[in-house]
Symmetry: D2
Subunit: 495 residues, 4 copies
Amino acid sequence: MTDSPLPQTAWRETPFDDDKLKEECGIFGVNGVSTAANFVALGLHALQHRGQEAGGIVVHDPEHGFNSARRFGYVRDNFTSQAVMDTLPGPIAIGHVRYSTAGSKGATAIRDVQPFFGEFAMGGAAIAHNGNITNAEELRRELIERGSIFQSSSDSECIIHLMARSLQKNIPERMKDALRRVEGAFSVVAMTRTKLIGVRDALGVRPLVLGRIGDGYALASETCALDIIGAEFVREIEPGEMVVISSTGEVTSHRPFEQKPSRFCIFEHVYFSRPDSILGGRSVYETRENIGRELAKEAPVEADLVCPVPDSGTPAAIGFSLQSGIPYAMGIIRNQYMGRTFIEPSEQVRNLGVRLKLNVNRALIRGKRVILVDDSVVRGTTSRKIKEMILDAGAAEVHFRIASPPTAWPCFYGVDTPQREKLLAATMSEEEMRTHLGVDSLKFISLDGLYRAVGEANGRDAKAPQYCDACFSGEYPVAPRDKLAQGFQLKTAAE
Amino acid sequence: MTDSPLPQTAWRETPFDDDKLKEECGIFGVNGVSTAANFVALGLHALQHRGQEAGGIVVHDPEHGFNSARRFGYVRDNFTSQAVMDTLPGPIAIGHVRYSTAGSKGATAIRDVQPFFGEFAMGGAAIAHNGNITNAEELRRELIERGSIFQSSSDSECIIHLMARSLQKNIPERMKDALRRVEGAFSVVAMTRTKLIGVRDALGVRPLVLGRIGDGYALASETCALDIIGAEFVREIEPGEMVVISSTGEVTSHRPFEQKPSRFCIFEHVYFSRPDSILGGRSVYETRENIGRELAKEAPVEADLVCPVPDSGTPAAIGFSLQSGIPYAMGIIRNQYMGRTFIEPSEQVRNLGVRLKLNVNRALIRGKRVILVDDSVVRGTTSRKIKEMILDAGAAEVHFRIASPPTAWPCFYGVDTPQREKLLAATMSEEEMRTHLGVDSLKFISLDGLYRAVGEANGRDAKAPQYCDACFSGEYPVAPRDKLAQGFQLKTAAE
Amino acid sequence: MTDSPLPQTAWRETPFDDDKLKEECGIFGVNGVSTAANFVALGLHALQHRGQEAGGIVVHDPEHGFNSARRFGYVRDNFTSQAVMDTLPGPIAIGHVRYSTAGSKGATAIRDVQPFFGEFAMGGAAIAHNGNITNAEELRRELIERGSIFQSSSDSECIIHLMARSLQKNIPERMKDALRRVEGAFSVVAMTRTKLIGVRDALGVRPLVLGRIGDGYALASETCALDIIGAEFVREIEPGEMVVISSTGEVTSHRPFEQKPSRFCIFEHVYFSRPDSILGGRSVYETRENIGRELAKEAPVEADLVCPVPDSGTPAAIGFSLQSGIPYAMGIIRNQYMGRTFIEPSEQVRNLGVRLKLNVNRALIRGKRVILVDDSVVRGTTSRKIKEMILDAGAAEVHFRIASPPTAWPCFYGVDTPQREKLLAATMSEEEMRTHLGVDSLKFISLDGLYRAVGEANGRDAKAPQYCDACFSGEYPVAPRDKLAQGFQLKTAAE
Amino acid sequence: MTDSPLPQTAWRETPFDDDKLKEECGIFGVNGVSTAANFVALGLHALQHRGQEAGGIVVHDPEHGFNSARRFGYVRDNFTSQAVMDTLPGPIAIGHVRYSTAGSKGATAIRDVQPFFGEFAMGGAAIAHNGNITNAEELRRELIERGSIFQSSSDSECIIHLMARSLQKNIPERMKDALRRVEGAFSVVAMTRTKLIGVRDALGVRPLVLGRIGDGYALASETCALDIIGAEFVREIEPGEMVVISSTGEVTSHRPFEQKPSRFCIFEHVYFSRPDSILGGRSVYETRENIGRELAKEAPVEADLVCPVPDSGTPAAIGFSLQSGIPYAMGIIRNQYMGRTFIEPSEQVRNLGVRLKLNVNRALIRGKRVILVDDSVVRGTTSRKIKEMILDAGAAEVHFRIASPPTAWPCFYGVDTPQREKLLAATMSEEEMRTHLGVDSLKFISLDGLYRAVGEANGRDAKAPQYCDACFSGEYPVAPRDKLAQGFQLKTAAE
């Protein structure tokens, strides 16, 4: 495989808001089109919200073989020049955007940027992974002892080494071998010289959808990435399913894993997925509007305005307004040129960090009782600053309404969460949080309310929860084996 | 003066949406603070919507004299590194962001990036200009004949040469001399070694506000730039006023020009200014919500959803929804990572350009009658594509409602408009436009309705219009002398 | 291991003169000093003539573990910034400069830039290799079949995979295991967390020397790299020897291979090594002066001036002048700013390529009989152009004297040579070459004369040649196994 | 005029050897060819030794008007890409390379990079200047008072402002007007839309030559720049002459200044000019060889080897060897990859700075009596380090022979010299310098010897010196007016 030798045009950016949970990856693949890499670039651009640190594309072409380009920074900055895209010819391609990997502390090396590639006796294969392998440390130790050389600090590299050592004669079978050894949450797109492969783990924690584009097929983390290329949404890949898509458009479905009830990540509905994507047959936007309506029912309050914390609180705020009849207004305006690293003037500017991206609509807010709707509270740092700005602008009252339950547990399935002790809800009650944030009222939607909003009319089935909600409930559907080995404490009966 | 020798970190970007009128400049200045350039960088970041092509900062410090840095690209990419900001010491600074200048065809040179600087016998001065000088060609010819050497193609450079040739003994007086020779629209911030100066032309076409920060003062195009640095809004600079602000905080007011009735640009209310800025004592956001309400009264229609064309149509759409009772919804989602230059895949993607930044919320829109609210229609190119995307998604009906009257005339006062024949409304009636766009209905707010929404209860005074509305009415408050010389035809009695 | 995340500051350059044989690598290592990477950067700078395409450094430090930086371009452009060198802490380091690798066609990927690193069960190791593995293809196939994943197209990567699969318990023993499987020519420096290792193949084809610096030791391809850091030259590593140098300065010597008579590359004396390096106890400069003297004896000619083809012909030209008594003069001047890629003006400039780096001293040359001394003739392309320039300048006669025998065979031991049919001497007799170049006379030193000049008083021992001279003689001391498999024809009895 | 908007590809470099006098500029112009800028790029590359900090090119084309590109760094790094050169169309062009300007302290701004351009009533003109205007401060003050705005800190900008204010009706006449006001040393190339102009000051201090290329003409600082483009050397422009070259190849000669005896800079023969250039009908190389012969006659010494200090001492060393019969040898080898900014390892490397570019040929030097020939001694800092390296290598004796008289006075005519007190010869006798440098002997050529070597058989005419030799003699042919105003002391009768 040949890496694009052209230099990258933009450098990595720090995350936009460091007080959010971060989805760690978006994946995309396409087979059976003329310039597959151009489609992948577009698909990854549409999935950029799932990972902003780096991106990579691998292609194959009978004449030029496998080629790849992996860069730090945004897709729009790296995969838009003719010079780069000309190094990526062929009708089949996969790509990946990432936020950061388990394992790498501090700066990521370009070696950690997916897709990963391996040359096997029967030809090469590349894979891109969204999720997290919870027994990666154990696998890595074993593989090194047997003579594998790891090139990255990524947990995902285990998969390619397991495939290299499989005795199966073709790549899809080697992939099954490898993924059966792997624990945790994963959606994977992979490619051989002619085949595009998509897999979801048995619980289906992370999303993966199938689309049709002309005579070819695409796989994507979300439907919004099908929309951008004009592909038709066919269906979701099912939990525990592997699909193999040939260059002539045959799609075969396999079931390599033991069958289990699905446990899709409920936070995809709350925050990770884009509002214009479709999950479970419904617009994510509508689900979030529903969450706002549910929240208005559960936690009503008298006020003059309902304002979203932009942009993620917007659909829930609209729902809250529609349910409550309190007018919706943009009380906080977001600077669309997003700056994060300005040098603080020597006369210190209060809340400079938050001012760089948000400004209160002072003339609108003055003297008003304001309901602020946000999607979640993680450490509470941004929430406090927003409250201060709102009060500085002369609001009469500030009421926070949160479109998810308290986030009290870290995610080990492909989401970047702070350590448990940094989560506000891990150490404080709702009332303590209210006092800490200094607002007139603070209410989170209940877990049952959230389940109702996503379409479970009877709420959560406590015996067999329909979703993975470990970040709220502390109930982990897959034991986080590496983390337990490092001393992580599961929820006790008392909690 | 010494230019920062450090290389720029980002290159110019093409405009985000080429079917909008573009404000050409934002200006900012501060005096009497410790690290003035850091404040200016923040102020310019808040004004980035007024000009994305390039930015510049000039500072003065008794020890290091005048220093400057001028760069293509966003403020956040150029004026955030310690290395650059360290080259800009001192308690007084002015800055400028620009979209493009009258006179430059094609790519702008860095020489055209303001502020401009001149060394006079009594010391140096720098100026930054928002607006357009309508007799610049004439002045330029005269100055060259007298031996001045122009370094840029900018109309604004005339001001500094006129100042250099003034016989006045101090810089504020030289500036008055110069500006009395200049015709057109201008708001100017300027600086000497110790004084910050702000001026608006006699009609006050472009905005300029005064703020207080600690013991110092700031001048800015809009109040949102005061907010970001935590400055208190004092007042607007009045039409025809010059203020001179000393390093010790004395503010003196001068009236260098003949008194005239004010003619502020009404399009600042419609689109140019940020919604969180205050104009005429009221939030721009509220004015736009008012425009939406007014539009709902003037042009009601039965429908299921009111959706904004993001982001500029949002406040008017909210107003339309509040007035009409039709639910507000985000039917079109904007990609916040804004890509514009992806390479089109060889299987052509319909409306690729617009898909890079906008996506229809398909599951929400399907089968619905949708009212789309946009701020303006210029060439109509984007409007057509949005309509197609909405219909592709299965909308039952599409109704366009436009928060400004038809834009039928170019602006010569500091706004980038296409040539008259490119403006849709210059050659088509409302019904012709409706057919051209292919929508079920299309309605623009009336000029009187717009005046009412901005607070003129009796609408427009046809004898003495309270605003500059030349882009709608063709009535130019200052004769565009250079353009007339080039053959531009004013509105005839018949039109 | 963590790669330096900082972007590289310069891009790869094309080779300075494409009509020379190119040494493919320079290697350097140091142990037991405070900032080992800074020493390695200096050492690699001194070895830059051995490889200009890319360079890499690996370090280890108990606190930060292994770190590396690998970049295209010159050492001076990549390893001189504090920002980069700060990412390379520790008392032990190795480095590599390269021209290009066997196996990579076209542009090299950064993955092909050495040193290579592997994490083994007992800890990590890095290696840097000068030479060429003649059975690399065979080894690679075998390793892939057993589940190794190759990350580069470099032959040298085999070594690290062979080490990973060795069952030995420590790294030096694993290295012996690995190198016993490898055929061809190699000098290797390697490092573990605490040990610096140097090895030469059994024939000692490529150079490697040991130096002492304070309480530490350095290994380098040539002594000039010891000089730059002020290290004392201790001795050459012997053919077939492995030295292991601990952090406390113990040096142990091992003999992992079967003992054989040495076959050092004679072309190192002719061209590859720097004139200020010491080989076999004598200055390379003096050896080359000797070659010039020998050439003057073998091939005298009447003339007015002896001129070198700069810079590699200089010492032999001085020797020729001293022996012949004909005055030495700089008839050709080299532009020290070396440009290679200027755009040809539309009026074509004759011999533009060579004019960019060389100019004839016209006023000196006019009317003179000139002897031009060059180190070698490969394809003859540059020689022809130089001859034309000399004649254009009005020289009366041009006599070429070449300080090496005709280069008629490719090198397979770590030198970049054209395919055999591109070598002028592979297809032409001396007289045919003279006619082809269009000069008054052309003489190469004899193979025996060259052996005498390097110190073999009796010339070449045809039964057991004291050096590897395959490029002249076609007698390959190690069978080029991969090349033979690809169809390369060895010299026949008839040739 | 439009500046090239493309970013520059390399950043400024620090000077190669900071212990040399630096020529400040090289100039080049061409008219009547198809792609003039490509010729200028080549010409400037050949003149790079006259200025390495920055370069610029201005072109004109009837279709595109005036265009320019000005960049920091080498010509080969900035003016070789198709993208940049495509912005520079047209049949007429001038260019400039510079080291640094009088007036700029510290970093140069891109505004200070020539050519300078002015738009006059009768059209634009650009000029490039080699030399120094000794009354620039006075002129600048006067021009500012009259309303001119300076854009740079360069003395050369005065010329363009004086031209702008001239009442003459065409540009060549305006240029005469302007240059008659200017004092000091100057060679200038200038261009209008169709005419190429070359001028030398009345004394002809700086060089300028005329060449013929096809039907067009070129002007260059040195003949080596004619050679690179294949132009035929026609003649030197005479002191006090202005030539005007039309687009159709007419050359007219003017004499705008009062006639005076010529005073060409003698240091051009010693060091500034390239050895392959022709000055006064003779190769500079031969003149330098002559200087070496003269030095061998004036200051003979018994020794084993004559070694040049590379590269500038080489021709004189060859001459010294030929005259003395002592063998010439390369005792010091220069690293052709020139590094200057490596980070010093924590174990300090003695003389690291000089080691980065020079290394002693240890095996050759050991035990020998060595004559080192250098072109000049300025501060003596490099000479001391070289001596130390030679002694470290075991030389038995070190004798310095300098190919110019002691440099005791600064140059004010376009050469960068340290302040007088930093010049070793300004404060020490020859014997004191010998002791300071710590060598066995030190001899400079006499001023008369130097005159003989450059062709004045009777040596220097003390009453009417044939050259400008102010740096040796302190006799300034033009009073340095600005410097005198700043307190510079001319040589007193006593000195």
